[in-house]
Amino acid sequence: MAASDIAAVPATIPGAPRRASRLRRVARRPLPAIGATLLALLVLSALAAPWLTSHDPFEMNVVDRLMPPNETYWFGTDAYGRDIFTRTLYGGRVSLVIGASVAIASTVIGLFIGVLAGYFRLADAVLMRIMDGLMAIPGILLAIALMSLTRASMWVVIVAITIPEVPRVVRLVRAVVLSVREQVYIQAASAIGTRLPRLMIKHILPNTFAPLIVQATYIAASAVLVESYLSFLGVGTPPEIPSWGNIIAEGRLYVQIAFWNILFPSVFLALMVLSINILGDGLRDMLDPRLARRI
């Protein structure tokens, strides 16, 4: 169903010809393209970090602590004498990995559980009660409590942020599965003896992809932010490892005397979250037939 939706590209404005070209649509709404480009730039800068800077993100030059931006340290130094430019770039890696991992993990797990819940009544009752229970606990509190279970590391942070996101994905997938299940063509396929796995893969799953992708982008953006909150509260990634969240958290004390500590990573963080969100918006507008018709 999803594939056929995209093929029948609907109008961009009321009354316009039904098959306006995608390019024209993109040009009329530059935001998603800007979002995608920005994100690509950020990803590139993170990947290219070792070539863009010669400093070591962990090296402390205590003599140079809290220096404002200058020729050697383009974004200045932090309280330990570490180069903020380097840490910001490397921090991008960690934030990207956290964002992407949480998005992928929560989507995959949520997909699995959601399909089970949507398709099998028995599983539904049990699973949805558990999901409701999880959702009732505020995500940040759950993440903090999970972080305190073990020593800090990036993977623990990823798990701690993923778990509260799963219920929402499950709900989404379950809703799609429930609505698709009742469709005549599914019942017909089942009636002629199509086996369950094939039914799942060929007919039911594809309908979940569009909303899932959109949801995944929002989750990625939210994960990057939540990581910064965890660092702010003192239970985030180990402070040696630069991530935008903990660079900001560590540097927040100096907002009045050495604001460069948080200015640059904040800008990068905001840009990344912004670009992911804009991208998500654009994807949703493109993939959702009802909205696409209006714009």
Binding site: A136, L141, V273, N277, I278, R290, I295
Partner: protein, 313 residues
């Protein structure tokens, strides 16, 4: 309808049960020993062991869980390990500021977001729409504590208009109450305004596309009437749902905001309790918050039929 209400209420019990188990397990499995923290920085291992015993922390997990559930059912949430005072009492003391902050934030967000969302949907595709949407995305791309610091530097330090931190209860001084609430509300409210505005816009867009709107316009009804009485009313179900599920997110945001502005609410209580492994407090607070969330959503579910006659169970 009556049986539906009863069914829904009963359905919340297993949910709360799940929450209880999750919370209990999570905490008891975590390392970090309240006894060690209580004993203080310079205590010996014997001191710590003595305190553990005194607090009953050396009992097997199953026993601790059963004892806890038993207490809960009689309304006894136990005592804080550190303060030796009833958890429920502590929560009651601190719930006021959190409630005040949550309500004012929600009110601020609703008052600001819905008009913005309606406007954006009405003029969809225009530069105004894109500007509103871009700014709203910006609002939830910046961490709340940075917004908070910015507001403090601007309004408290530079302009000296508003207090930096703290909380004054309504009974002590209504003016103080309002003054101390302004900055935290705005800091947190901006984020929620952004979220709500987006949902409002999205659902309004869908609704504005429906035939009955075209009919209303064709009938010659004034645009504001069309937008509010007809479109918004029909779009309200998802919006209200978001407000409901948003309460869990709101608590998360309140936690950080309370830390920045030193508001003595439940959020700060929980963080401190988690960092110190004050189990009874953590368990009690999460249960209470989850309970509130479940009840609010129940209430929202039950009021759906008021908003949308098509929804009947």
């Amino acid at each position: 309808m009556g049986s539906y209400v009863i069914r829904r209420v009963l359905a919340t019990l297993p949910v709360m049960g799940v929450v209880a188990v999750i919370v209990f397990l999570m905490l008891r499995l975590s390392p970090g020993d309240p006894a060690a923290i209580i004993a203080g920085d310079n205590a010996t291992s014997q001191d710590i062991a003595q305190i553990r015993e005194y607090l009953g922390l050396d009992q097997p997990l199953g026993e601790q869980f059963v004892r806890w559930i038993g207490q809960l059912l009689t309304g006894d949430f136990g005592n804080s390990i550190y303060l030796n005072r009833p958890v429920l009492g502590l929560i009651m003391e601190r719930v006021g500021p959190t409630l005040a902050l949550s309500i004012s934030t929600m009110a601020f967000a609703i008052l600001l977001a819905i008009p913005l969302g309606v406007l954006a949907a009405w003029r969809a595709g225009s530069w105004g729409d894109q500007a509103i949407m871009a700014m709203s995305v910006l609002a939830f791309s910046v961490p709340v504590f940075l917004i908070g610091y910015g507001l403090v530097i601007g309004f408290s330090l530079e302009l000296e208009l508003l207090p930096v931190q703290g909380f004054v209860s309504l009974s002590e001084s209504p003016i103080g109450f309002l003054r101390h609430l302004v900055l935290p509300t705005v800091a947190l409210g901006l984020v929620y305004t952004a979220l709500l505005a987006r949902i409002t816009r999205a659902t309004m867009l869908e609704t504005l596309n429906e035939d009955f709107i075209r009919t209303a316009r064709a009938k010659g009804l004034a645009e504001p009437r069309v937008l509010i009485l007809h479109a918004l009313k029909n779009a309200s179900v998802p919006i209200v749902t978001t407000i409901g599920t948003g309460i869990a997110l709101l608590i998360g945001g309140v936690v950080v905001t309370e830390s920045v502005f030193a508001v003595p609410g439940i959020g700060r209580l929980t963080i401190d309790a988690v960092l110190q492994r004050d189990y009874p407090v953590i368990q009690g607070v999460i249960l209470v918050i989850a309970g509130v969330y479940v009840l609010v959503n129940l209430a929202i579910d039950l009021t759906y039929s008021l908003l949308d006659p098509r929804i009947r169970y």
